[in-house]
């Protein structure tokens, strides 16, 4: 956060560089079952982000000494394609992606009915094909859809969303420039039915009041995003039913 810059990220009329208002989301589009081999899959375009998610499982956890006799373990792997960012990224996990994989795994596990699948493992592969700020929450949002598409029972979906601070104002869903040159970034993962927080990270500088404002912006947006998730899944079920009907 907070590399100095002369760019004016938001103007006196509260219009942001890309024309959005403070509480406006970038365009979001979710598709399901985009892959043949996986048990469930999804594809999300969120602004310029393009992220594909595949789910395998529940399957027997391996190696065996990793098995939990009481529940399934959820292993999300967040990974960026070498060409997804401006400077080519060397393939393989770096420290950032290890951390994101961990918090995303934990957020998903909070939503999945893991107690139904003792000794099992649910693998969630999140591949960022093009990155454009907010990849972790876009990936989490899509992952939740892919888990549902795999037919794995969940207590609730998980919705990811970010708020941040630019030009001393709280805004929703940071763009790439806002992420690079802004003052704070607050990505959250929410269970929309209960407003529970299952993922939260923050860096930058927020007063307690600003935190309140950011949180309330996120909570509202959550409902909209959850709706997009539902529609993506419904479309899937429609197609399946049609297929079965034929």
């Amino acid at each position: 956060m907070g590399t100095a810059s002369d760019i004016k990220l938001i103007d006196e009329n509260n219009i942001r560089l890309d024309g959005r208002g403070p509480d406006e989301l970038r365009p979001i589009k979710i598709e399901t079952n985009v892959l043949n081999r996986a048990d469930g899959s999804s594809f999300i375009e969120w602004g310029g982000n393009k992220i594909m998610v595949a789910v395998y499982g529940p399957r027997e956890a391996y190696p065996k000494h990793n098995q939990d006799i009481n529940k399934a373990i959820v292993k999300a792997r967040y990974n960026m394609a070498a060409f997804s960012v401006d400077e080519r990224k060397r393939p393989g996990p770096d420290r950032r992606s290890v951390e994101i994989s961990k918090v995303v795994s934990e957020a998903l596990e909070a939503a999945i009915m893991v107690e139904l699948f003792p000794r099992a493992q649910i693998d969630v592969f999140i591949e960022v094909l093009q990155a454009d700020a907010g990849t972790r929450i876009a990936g989490l949002t899509a992952a939740s859809v892919a888990v549902a598409a795999a037919g794995i029972p969940m207590r609730d979906m998980v919705v990811g969303c970010t708020a941040g601070k630019v030009g001393n104002k709280i805004v929703l869903d940071l763009s790439k420039e806002e992420d690079n040159f802004g003052q704070a970034d607050l990505p959250m993962g929410i269970l929309p039915k209960s407003d529970r927080v299952v993922l939260m990270q923050m860096d930058g500088d927020l007063s307690v009041e600003e935190f309140e404002q950011a949180t309330s912006m996120i909570m509202k947006a959550t409902k909209r995003i959850a709706q997009i998730q539902r529609e993506a899944l419904t479309k899937k079920y429609e197609i399946q039913q049609k297929e079965q009907g034929e």
């Binding site: 081999r37 990974n79 060409f83 997804s84 393989g92 996990p93 693998d123 591949e127």
Partner: protein, 260 residues
């Protein structure tokens, strides 16, 4: 090839496929020299300097090309640098694991690389910025998203399509953006033997049943630029002759239709 990844093919299925193939029909109704439905969408990742999403039947791969200035190799001071990397993403198949490249991904990457390099598709002499010091470095990164057989050809088509639309970002260093200089279009065709019948573009079931494999890359002039025999079985010389013809014929069609 992961023979038993989805459980080994049942004996019943195998003998059915064998019977069919002897009558000239393949599991999905294709003729021996017929490739699966092919879709190539270039510029799928605008953030890359070139990219292509390829669907070959149910196999799906994404290629991104990144081009940046860097140092030449000491023994080729006046040529651009070219590297090809294949990632078998764990999302693509139940037994694929994340980690460093393995035997399978290295073989695919090297065969794709060889076809492009040996055909002199890219004019590397034009990729010099300052002789001996600074050249354009071209990274071809191939991500396998969904695996249903014949990675060699899917990855090769993706790499060729992405390179043909790739832009050298000269503007980053005060110059102009230009298209990557391209001389010709290598096309790879992979052929396997199913109980002595040779078929091209095998899907995963066919790969699992095949006894041997060959990938042959040809150019517009009908010349062979790269070959790679793989898997445990053998070819008679006559079978190789047939394979070269099949590759050259089918390759011409694919070049015309998808890689112009």
């Amino acid at each position: 090839m992961p023979k038993d990844a989805l459980g080994v093919l049942s004996e019943i299925k195998k003998s059915f496929i064998t019977k069919q193939i002897k009558e000239g029909r393949r599991g999905d109704g294709r003729k021996p020299d017929e490739y699966r439905e092919l879709r190539i969408q270039t510029n799928y990742v605008p953030r890359a300097n070139g990219s292509a999403l390829v669907e070959l039947g149910k196999t799906k791969i994404l290629v991104g090309v990144k081009i940046d200035a860097g140092e030449p190799f000491p023994d080729t001071p006046n040529l651009g640098v070219f590297t090809t990397n294949v990632e078998l993403l764990p999302m693509a198949f139940p037994t694929f694991e994340s980690g460093p490249p393995n035997e399978m991904s290295i073989e695919v990457a090297r065969v794709v690389d060889r076809g492009i390099r040996e055909s002199k598709m890219v004019d590397f002499e034009k990729l010099v910025i300052e002789p001996g010091k600074k050249v354009w470095v071209v990274f071809v990164d191939i991500n396998v998203l969904d695996y249903d057989g014949n990675l060699f050809d899917a990855c090769s088509y993706g790499a060729v399509a992405a390179l043909k639309t790739a832009v050298v970002p000269g503007s980053k260093y005060g110059g102009k953006d230009t298209l990557l200089p391209i001389n010709n279009t290598p096309v790879s065709v992979t052929i396997v033997k199913l109980d002595d019948v040779m078929v091209c573009d095998p899907d995963l079931e066919e790969e699992q049943m095949s006894t041997t494999r060959v990938t042959i890359t040809t150019t517009e002039d009908g010349h062979i630029r790269a070959m790679q025999k793989g898997d445990l079985g053998y070819f008679e010389i006559d079978e190789i002759r047939k394979a070269i013809k099949m590759s050259s014929d089918t390759g011409s069609i694919i070049r015309e239709k998808y890689l112009k």
